[in-house]
Amino acid sequence: MKPASKSLRLTFVLLFSLLFQIQAQPQTRPAVEPRSAAPVAAAQQPVKQPEVKFAILGDTGTGGREQYEIGQKLTATRGTFPFEFVILLGDNMYGGESAKDFQNKFEKPYEALLSTGIKFYASLGNHDVPERQIAYKPFNMGGQRYYTFKPKDGVRFFALDSNYMDQKQLQWLENELKGSGSEWKVLFFHHPLYSSGEKHGPSLELRKVLEPLLTKNGVDVVFAGHEHFYERVKPQNGIQYFILGSSAKLRKGGIEKTELTAKGFDTDNAFMVAEISGDAMSFQTISRKGTVVDSGNFRRVERKAATND
């Protein structure tokens, strides 16, 4: 890295911290849980320090005013926080999937971002027609209902189809997780494994089959939608869970706070931005009005322990 760009980056990080008042929140730090050691080959590789900035949107595809306003706020945020891509947590298209729907519920609301080459990576929700969306290039799904991508060395994202979790998908996930060694493992899909939602609540069926795989294979963060609010769940078995299903839809008062809730926000729409830097991840949740409603950072302490084994 050139000195000029390095100092620019440092300035940005400082500005970012000051502007958005990132506070270290100890409760967001995943509890250190014993995990299976990473494969030997992966542990022997030189440790790279990943730097990835990304944004998160969930339950977006209404084509309504709220979606457009969130799109504008997200675009504006990129001015101070230059995220490289956006992940979508499902329900990308409500009530129809014609060409016009793709325009009104995706291309127009995020036009400013798409025109600058920002990539979107979609996962499928229960309101999505899989075959239409997996073939839609701007969703970058590679023609698959579930897929993985690696934006930088040391970080891997996994998009799942939680609406149809069959044996094939589970097997694929296990293989991919095992193969990703000591990388950051970020999962995103539609149905939350943990939730304090009054309406849906957690997807217990999914949790039964998915959670053992995630904990066994050292998943760090999980983003889900479905519930039309924001909730940061207290780390479960060493994994940090976020719910963000309010980037267009909103269920006001939808959270029935439980002991799971680290932070909840159900009075306005929201989006998230996050940065993975080395062994730490910082995040902010920003409302449609531009208020930072949650922020923090956590370190994947247990990963280091695993790779040092």
Binding site: G95, G96, E97, S98, A99, D101, F102, Q103, N126, H127, D128, V129, P130, E131, R132, A135, Y136, K137, P138, M141, G142, G143, S162, N163, Y164, M165, D166, Q167, K168, L170, H191, K199, H200, S203, L204, E205, L206, K208, V209, L210
Partner: protein, 198 residues
């Protein structure tokens, strides 16, 4: 008196043995029948997949990914039309024949049985189900009917999916209300269905 007692004991041992043999035979016959049902189902799936492949081959191919959403929808429609043309007289029960239906129904029943199955049942009949009351689009459960792109797709619990016979990626199980449908994912088409499966 003693001889009489011995006779009684022998008789009960013999009876127990007969009962054991009868049970074992019944079990083995049931297993055989489950195997036959699976084989039969696979045969119907293979037969349908031949039609599916023929239909796909008969329409102009499109790239794996495209920015043209209209092209994707048109392609899906063309495949659905081609399938309908290749099986114009398809009826309910052609894939889910009575024997197959029995096997599928037993699997579904087991997946939602008791307290353990409550969450699976709730998942099936929950919000994603087009008849859950949250969907405004009615789904016409009919062989060869298009599954409306405006209707949600029910979530099928993993526990159920893992017990049901595996399908090729072009086909999937979904629920519309209590009906289990076999959906062609490429054509967005209802291939067959079992009414009141849950």
């Amino acid at each position: 008196m003693r001889i009489h007692r011995l006779g009684k004991a022998t008789a009960s041992i013999v009876m127990s043995m007969i009962l054991f043999v009868v049970c074992a035979c019944a079990e083995s016959s049931q297993a055989g029948s489950a195997q036959e049902q699976s084989k039969e189902f696979q045969g119907h799936i293979d037969k349908y997949m031949e039609i599916h492949k023929k239909a796909v081959a008969s329409v102009p191919a499109i790239p794996k990914e495209t920015t043209d959403a209209a092209l994707i929808a048109k392609h899906q429609q063309q495949i659905a039309d081609a399938i309908r043309a290749l099986r114009p007289n398809a009826l309910v029960g052609e894939v889910f024949t009575p024997a197959v239906r029995q096997m599928i129904l037993a699997t579904v029943k087991q997946a939602v049985a008791g307290k353990e199955g409550e969450s699976a049942k709730a998942t099936v009949l929950g919000e994603g189900n087009p008849k859950s009351g949250e969907s405004e689009t009615p789904v016409n459960v009919k062989v060869n009917a298009t599954y409306p792109s405006t209707a949600p797709l029910s979530t099928v619990p993993p526990s159920m999916l893992m017990s049901l016979p595996m399908l090729p990626k072009e086909l999937e199980y979904r629920f519309v209300g209590r009906n289990l449908i076999l959906r062609d994912t490429t054509a967005n088409l209802i291939v067959d269905f079992i009414p009141n499966a849950i």
